[in-house]
Symmetry: C2
Amino acid sequence: MTGHPYDTDLERGPANHVPLTPLTQLQRVASTWPDKLAVVHGARRYDYGEFYARCRRLASALAARGIGKGDTVSVMAPNVPALLEAHFGVPMTGAVLNALNTRLDARAIAFTLAHAGSKILIADRCFSAVVKPALAETAAKPLVIDIDDPLDSSGELLGACDYESFIASGDPEFAWRMPDDEWDAIALNYTSGTTGNPKGVVFHHRGAALNAIGQILAFQLRADTSYLWTLPMFHCNGWCYTWAVTAAGGTHVCLRRVEPKAIFDSILANRVTHLCGAPIVLNMLVHAPDADRKAPAQTVQVATGGAAPPSAVIEAMERMGFRVHHLYGLTETYGPAALCAWQDEWDTLDKAGQAAMVARQGVAYPTLDALMVADPDSLAPVPADGTTIGELMVRGNTVMKGYLKNPTATAAAFAGGWFHTGDLAVRHPDGYVEIKDRSKDIIISGGENISSLEVEEVLYRHPEIMEAAVVARPDPKWGESPCAFVTLKPGAKKTDPDGVIAYCRAHMAHYKIPRTVIFGPLPKTSTGKIQKFVLRERAAKL
Amino acid sequence: MTGHPYDTDLERGPANHVPLTPLTQLQRVASTWPDKLAVVHGARRYDYGEFYARCRRLASALAARGIGKGDTVSVMAPNVPALLEAHFGVPMTGAVLNALNTRLDARAIAFTLAHAGSKILIADRCFSAVVKPALAETAAKPLVIDIDDPLDSSGELLGACDYESFIASGDPEFAWRMPDDEWDAIALNYTSGTTGNPKGVVFHHRGAALNAIGQILAFQLRADTSYLWTLPMFHCNGWCYTWAVTAAGGTHVCLRRVEPKAIFDSILANRVTHLCGAPIVLNMLVHAPDADRKAPAQTVQVATGGAAPPSAVIEAMERMGFRVHHLYGLTETYGPAALCAWQDEWDTLDKAGQAAMVARQGVAYPTLDALMVADPDSLAPVPADGTTIGELMVRGNTVMKGYLKNPTATAAAFAGGWFHTGDLAVRHPDGYVEIKDRSKDIIISGGENISSLEVEEVLYRHPEIMEAAVVARPDPKWGESPCAFVTLKPGAKKTDPDGVIAYCRAHMAHYKIPRTVIFGPLPKTSTGKIQKFVLRERAAKL
């Protein structure tokens, strides 16, 4: 509408329009609370003044090596300060951070470095056994910087210099660059993928800044927050908590290895208030040996996601002094896109009833625009009846920019103006969504859809079972039948397939009962998810 | 950089780019917590489901009268549900909300309606004595809708119909429109101005959404927040708390009149956790008759701003169970742009020391990009020495779009890419800014700059003084000399100018002491600020 007074002589300018980015938040917090504790790593502790100076030194050192707009810097590290600092120092040069999944093998790393076009690789020496062959194999020839952490001297040094010397060469007052536009890329995260080559998910500054705010709002992060890094920072940039905890002015408590004793010790020593982790991490805490367990001095807020937490795990965590929040998201949504917001009327439910409510994926995150369960082709929303299955779709500013160098996959993911998550869900009458399965994980037996998650939920309630995964096994009569793979708790009483099947018979509809039960360790992806495609292959060969 | 992989085939689209706006937050909260208490007004209470439905009805009824993109809807009302609903219902049509300052006279309202081009005026009947002549005088011929609140039947009905009938004609499921662009205007607020015609400050959806988030972050608003409307909603849209409390899912507690008894009663009855108000409102609470005072059941967070709160007022408020936060901002910055963030080391200061720290304007708001104190011409920042005076300037996404139909004033305000606040300030060594005066309020005596605020701060500590304002009085010898206007506390001991001057002599440098002290009521602007230009005129005539 040209000529309209509200659009005349009222243009954007430098005084009133600035790109949204997590970078300005670090600058603001360091200026407001320079002496506030920012980072804890073992016995090392430093404040926001130093944290900001180290990030600027990193940016300066990178710029001196020619890193700038549109370049890629990869980091292969556990949850150590160098990786946290890279979340700011790399984009401060205009470059894009590619945090590598540390559980990948050499071949996958070689592929990623080449696809991302990495010019610099900052790698912790403990991963040299994988990084060395990856560098030999990859088409990319990045400059290598070693992280030589006194807390772990395993592996060997591979690089031109070590991280501390590298940033020492940089200027702590470096005049870093703002993104030209908030749509500029800030991070590149590869989906772990179950088959084929992974896809490179591109995040932009706008989405990173907004999802960081979303975490602050959803999780009540504040200046007195002490956040324990149990969730890998390489996993969707730590669900954006790298940026969120910083924007809140809280304290980052690093952790090299996710082990129950180290977690319980750190919670006490650092007065931890918040942590995140996949249900598998919660399960590990629940089943930690008594000697390693220490009751937290205050309630610890725990955000979990990546898979629905079995209600038995939620209940056990709450008994131990944790308050569990269930989030849902994907790499494509910067991590969390939904949360199971608490309703006051749930206060009156018993623990099991509450856990069943919390096991649902819930409602849109504060910074997501919309979420729907719909027919993937027609985009017609399913009725909110709790039973009709559709695909979960989301839309908003915290949805990725797209897949790098993959316009076909990007277009497919965004078909019809919604991001298609690939998760099958229902919408309950209260508006909450609940995922029933990944599209490919549903079991179709005698024409009936069986949710593998629903069967697993029952198995997790079996007193001797620690982990469970259910997949389709080809069946000459029914097409497919449910096949359960389970591991038992340490010191579990002896149990056999018939016992498990009898337990299922008492707790679920007959057609859903696993026909086959296999005991043994479960194969997992690099992010700790159970690899159902491996189990499906095993089941097919039975 | 064309051809760059991070900018190729990674365009914005409906799945990953949505305008930032407060409107989607209401939709999200109403969908997440439809049964949660949203609005309290006297004995009336309604939930987010109904709040959202009422806003949609309003939008629908406005659209049926032809209101759409770029139109202006004015509202003249105290803090009642109709004005709160207009913050959503009006922009849901694409139109712009113009909340009128209820303390303006008929002539100023007539000017505003004409300048804004208002097509509809929603007005509370209690203001008919001003609205009626304004309508007779103005060039605008808006359709008038009456607010006929059972809580106040003063005044007369002037309009075509009343607000409740009007929205009853609207559709509660109305498909409201998203802004086409987040830069679209959402609100128009006229500066109260001390002389001449006021300027129309245009807010956009992006800034409104972000400043609302800023308030949530700065003020820790949550779903269990109960916010008492002591700050006028017409004042920068209630410093964006209209949108912020909604986005947090908190409860809006309306209040027609800002009176101590009503405030103390509502705090108890509605378990109020937060309120905002100018220092003058705090002062009123501090000096309330004992019979009206009731101790809050929990600490009430109070944000104050618009003028520096005298430290004596902060101390007294804290003793009564309030926790005072000092914010700073202007209409041009959507309300708050700075806050005096607490530092842990202040914990060890005595009450007076803490109050002195809190009386400073502080540091940038979480959603502001930057704030500086600089020479207004060269834009060179002043040293952080606590004494060198410069002009306070700010920059960021929560700075206005500009002044409506006033490109000259807009260009002047944004000169050099910073918004010039017109406030004179220093930066302290700890980085905190402190306003010394408005440019025009500084007193220059014998070549020395005297901050009127500094003299007032001392006067406020005098045991018998309730309010104080110091202005320049022309002086044949010194050029100007400080002239104090004061009011005494109810029941104050008799005191005279010499006593006040003697008190000042004991507490400040000689050259700053007021040469003249005048007792009597102080003239105030429609937003409760003391009108120094009136006092300057009086001082000139003494």
